[in-house]
């Protein structure tokens, strides 16, 4: 653990300027992942830039088009329990409440959730190589113990998975990430925010150095009635997903007008395939169709020595979660399987 300086900017532009003075400076909001990485000696900030005093980032407001803007500094708990989120985006509430613990959700922020690092145990162990931590050094997870690792979108350099629950729902909801930096403001569609490892596994996302997330926009939708988030893990609560599924359905009677399905715990980013969603469009909301969509979504899935179980598990989870979305009341707290 290194010592570091501590800065308290009074404005967003001052925060961005402070980030620009040293590549090792880091923004801190909730700190629940950043301080953990610092304690593991994986992150060595020169200065922490405390953005908690920037009220411009700390509100949830309605957008002109009928959606919601979630401030980057709003906590996970404040977001999940916000009346407008519960009413219009209950899938997001469910996903947030399936993640972490109540204490961490009281601290962790929306912006920070997007930026959390993988929980790959080789990444956390500085005694072993890791292409994400030390590019070019190798990947012990490939050929090692890889029960928690990716089945989709991995590369021969990295098979780590992105651990967020919240982001699985944000992916399904076509959220947009608003960022600012020394080059100005940008809007990043959620599908383009996180990236696959490819030959640059050190990069989790497409933020530029020093850029700051300011908000997450949720477009209006018709998914507040039929939705479900299912999280499968080694214990019932307070554990990362082996497989998770966010399903949102817009139904016309028994016919699917529009479907969204996103997977967590299976790839370096929340996993969607629009072909699977297009397949469901106009079809009956029945098990056989959800099973066929699951096959499309899992096309190209590849297991390693210890995680091959994730492929059939994901298929069953997609089907089960789609059926639970027909009756959201069947879901238990913590996104557990229905009784």
């Amino acid at each position: 653990m290194n010592n570091f300086d501590y800065l308290q900017p009074q404005s967003v532009s001052e925060a961005v300027d402070q980030a620009g003075t040293n590549d090792s400076n880091r923004f801190i909001a909730g700190g629940t992942n950043l301080l953990d990485l610092w304690k593991y000696d994986l992150l060595h900030p020169a200065a922490l830039i405390d953005i908690n005093q920037l009220p411009a980032l700390n509100s949830i407001t309605e957008t002109a088009e009928g959606g919601l803007r979630l401030g980057a500094l709003c906590t996970n708990a404040a977001t999940a329990y916000h009346p407008l989120v519960e009413e219009r985006y209950p899938l997001l509430s469910k996903a947030i409440l399936a993640g972490a613990s109540a204490q961490i959700r009281n601290m962790a922020t929306n912006g920070g959730n997007l930026l959390q690092r993988t929980r790959c145990y080789y990444f956390y162990d500085p005694a072993v190589p890791c292409n994400k931590r030390n590019p070019g050094s190798g990947c012990p997870a490939i050929g090692g113990y890889n029960r928690m690792h990716a089945i989709l979108g991995a590369s021969d350099q990295c098979i780590a998975v992105f651990p967020s629950d919240m982001c699985v729902a944000l992916a399904a909801l076509n959220a947009v990430v608003l960022v600012t930096g020394q080059q100005g403001d940008r809007s990043i569609p959620f599908a383009d925010f996180h990236r696959l490892p490819g030959d640059q596994p050190a990069l989790d996302n497409t933020l530029l150095p020093g850029e700051l997330i300011t908000a997450i926009d949720l477009p209006p939708n018709r998914f507040a009635t039929n939705y479900s988030y299912l999280k499968l893990r080694d214990r019932h609560s307070y554990a990362f997903a082996l497989v998770s599924v966010a399903t949102a359905l817009d139904l016309d009677g028994d016919t699917i007008r529009e479907a969204r399905i996103a997977l967590g715990g299976v790839a370096h980013k929340p996993w969607r395939n629009e072909l699977a969603e297009q397949f469901l469009q106009g079809k009956a909301a029945i098990e056989a169709n959800f099973a066929a969509a699951a096959d499309i979504l899992l096309q190209g899935a590849q297991g390693y020595q210890h995680n091959g179980f994730k492929i059939p598990l994901a298929k069953k989870a997609i089907i089960r979660n789609s059926l639970m979305a027909l009756d959201p009341a069947s879901q238990l707290p913590g996104a557990q399987p229905s009784a």
């Binding site: 653990m1 010592n3 570091f4 300086d5 501590y6 801190i28 700190g31 629940t32 301080l35 953990d36 304690k39 593991y40 922490l48 405390d50 908690n52 708990a77 329990y81 972490a100 613990s101 109540a102 204490q103 961490i104 009281n106 601290m107 019932h236 609560s237 307070y238 238990l332 707290p333 913590g334």
Partner: protein, 159 residues
Amino acid sequence: MSYPAARPVTFSVNGVSHTLSLAPWVTLLDALRERLRLTGTKKGCDHGQCGACTVLCNDQRILSCMTLAVMKQGAAITTIEGIATGDTLHPLQQAFIDHDAFQCGYCTPGQICSAIGMLREGKARTRTEVKELMSGNLCRCGANKTIIDAIMEVKESYE
């Protein structure tokens, strides 16, 4: 290597205002235990995985091991030492005794502070939901059943 100077930080703990001179990297947990000698708050994993360090910050339950003390300027912190009223135990303290809700006791201060925060949040209706919303506090002795019994008794007496 030159280290940034310690700086004054003022926050209240159990209703008493304290001004400490702290380096930026001192956690709230270490400030409570090492500087204020309030050792009721426990350091378990020190990585946000066990909940033993749970305290209330402005009435919300947080993990003091994952919090820098310098970030809590002006905050009102409550620890296990601050929840009784004189010699009268907090209802959760009494319920933990009545239900034998601990073995070694190491997780107990965090369990009780977390339960106070959970009851104040008002989101748990059923025992299943209480268990879910208390899952951030681990008990390695396995006293979880009586811990939830104790919390349910207090929860129901409030309702």
